[in-house]
Symmetry: C2
Amino acid sequence: MINAHPLPDMPCPIGALSQYTAQRVRTAGWIHAVRRLGGVTFVILRDGHHMVQVVIKSHPGALRPETVVYVEADVVDEPRAPGGIELHRPTFDVVSEPANPLPLDLSGPRVEAGLPTRLDWAPLALRHPGSREWLRVTARLVQEFRQALSQEDFVEIHTPKLLATATEGGANVFTVDYFGRPAYLAQSPQFYKQMMVGVLGRVFEVGPVFRAEPHDTARHLSQYTSLDVELGFIRDHHTVMDVLARTLRAMLIGARVEAPELDSWPEVPTSIPVIHFSEALEMLSLALGQDLCQEPDLAPAHEAWLGEWAQATHGSDFLFVEGYPMAKRPFYTYPDPKRPEFTLSFDLLFRGQELVTGGQRLHLYQDYVAALASRGLEPESYEGYLMAFKYGMPPHGGFAIGLERLVARLMGFTNIREATLLPRDVKRLVP
Amino acid sequence: MINAHPLPDMPCPIGALSQYTAQRVRTAGWIHAVRRLGGVTFVILRDGHHMVQVVIKSHPGALRPETVVYVEADVVDEPRAPGGIELHRPTFDVVSEPANPLPLDLSGPRVEAGLPTRLDWAPLALRHPGSREWLRVTARLVQEFRQALSQEDFVEIHTPKLLATATEGGANVFTVDYFGRPAYLAQSPQFYKQMMVGVLGRVFEVGPVFRAEPHDTARHLSQYTSLDVELGFIRDHHTVMDVLARTLRAMLIGARVEAPELDSWPEVPTSIPVIHFSEALEMLSLALGQDLCQEPDLAPAHEAWLGEWAQATHGSDFLFVEGYPMAKRPFYTYPDPKRPEFTLSFDLLFRGQELVTGGQRLHLYQDYVAALASRGLEPESYEGYLMAFKYGMPPHGGFAIGLERLVARLMGFTNIREATLLPRDVKRLVP
């Protein structure tokens, strides 16, 4: 069971090789592809981040793709090569070879296989340089999200994912056998982030949320990563919208560097246009020639139309729609004091699709008691949550971004699974 | 249901008030305590981060603790006051008042209640300044962890928490009703982080892990936050220990500022002493006058003795014990090529208790097949995991830090629940 292969010192990452031109360096990685041109063999070596071309004048022997090797070679300037360098006069040290023939060809510009196949073989398929870029985009988005918020004194929290009651969504909740009694997987950290506004004032969380979503569609997952924000002492939902715009701007600027060749990368404008829900319906009624003014929500086609309108009128990929009707928002949503059938909530549309939902929440205990009663909900099931409001809470609000959805939209993926590491859905629970 | 109270613009955070001395400023927070001294009333105002003293010459009326107020007042230099400033000539704008009398007194130097009571009332009890400090320590530790690793080209990942098979621990796993079939909550991201070494080379994750731990002790939780790291192309487990030492050093230096008055805050020495497991047993046998050399693991009393030894001999709070026997380590652990009954794994002890576990893993497919067979495990249950090794993996290893355990040790808490936001255990599932 013991590997007889030598374990040399840490090799130089491929991305750092260009600092060592005209020197002999030890690097390492996977054989990505082998190409022969005239009498010369070009081996493309890939590590976790970069690739480099290794030039072999003599016959290289068998170097099968996905073989792991250490390579000692001369680093040579070569402006025509990808990355501006090449490796010459290599000696290869084989660490491990693929045990089976590869089920997928990773050497082309993309992995030529349908999404289900790529998901089945994800530990291999994700190694393709074009198939793993979104993972670094994702990491960078989250890094910028945290940094932007930490600079404004938000504190990161880690909340329970196991709950005693299925309070938030009702349906679509997973049940866990919790030492013989039922518990439920959290569908969001909504209640906890609100509680914690009472403790820390401004909080955020990056964590998994769970939805027992029985529909097998391109946008539903059983687990996704939610970027949650909540803050106290807001003026109204506009304070929340300001925080969201600042945060998203920082995220998109920062993550841009991880996908430099994508040409449709959006910018968050200095001022994102805002339209009231009722105004949106009026515009849509006029434009589409039908009376939509009593609609309780925006249909996807309506969001798409509004996205085009925001682009045409404001040159913006983003549009805030504020004031959604009470009927379609959760019980903790703050009603508009001037028009109580509407709320101080918002959606942020990106190119005509909803990307973020947020708003101001109720903060007075008696308002919660009344809101629960008006929806026929039992206050007893909300005891821990209500405790925060019972002992003094400020006006507060927040928002949640679905990370995989954001990444899919930025990368131009049509199926959210392409932006999800080992997705879970009604049919898929492996690998 | 609509709050008739005015919603003014965003108030100045208490921590920023000292920038506005001799000016009239609008701030906000909770009434933390009210104290009368002679004819003067001192109101302590608390926000999510800081506190300030408000001086009232006339009678203030009823200002009950935990009332949320906006305060307009003059900021006055006062070297004797906490924070160096006071607020004078205040006017108060009450936003919300506690609906019930407070079940806990938050105005003293600590919350005078047992841990179960404080956990039952956590949304309130955590507001106490001394009871929330660990939350900022936690956030800062995680921030430094991520930053240190990102600088070394590690990529953050978010892996599935719902699994098709209970492969890792066997026992202590929670079962989920997954659309009518069983699924299991992840006990660690171990398999996934290894897979992702094949994709990204160096990865980390910060996320919840789940253990159906039936014991009601001071150190067991059903959910905790695991800081997981894994990297490829290591020399051996010493590469992993180097990464851990660097990362932990950055974490402790950074988080120090969030708990400035703790006087037992540790430093990670430039070189953490390392002792081999067998050498540790020899020393213990000699010191304790009993033959321990065939023991398969270290008992807590032995770890404590080693902690004192490290302190006395090396002046170090930290001690690496390497080379634990194969029998007590998971099947993926890399055996010591020179002494195959031992492994290239380690524990990091902090003041005589295990804080981190890590090591080198197997990387050859045939070694995995043999290791599973030797433990009577079915390779079929490990198909997705084994796929990574089937197609070429480098020597790799990693470690995992239990976040709540680390924070409890740093803060001097004897029960891990004091460092856990809303802990979950065999008895507790609320709030």
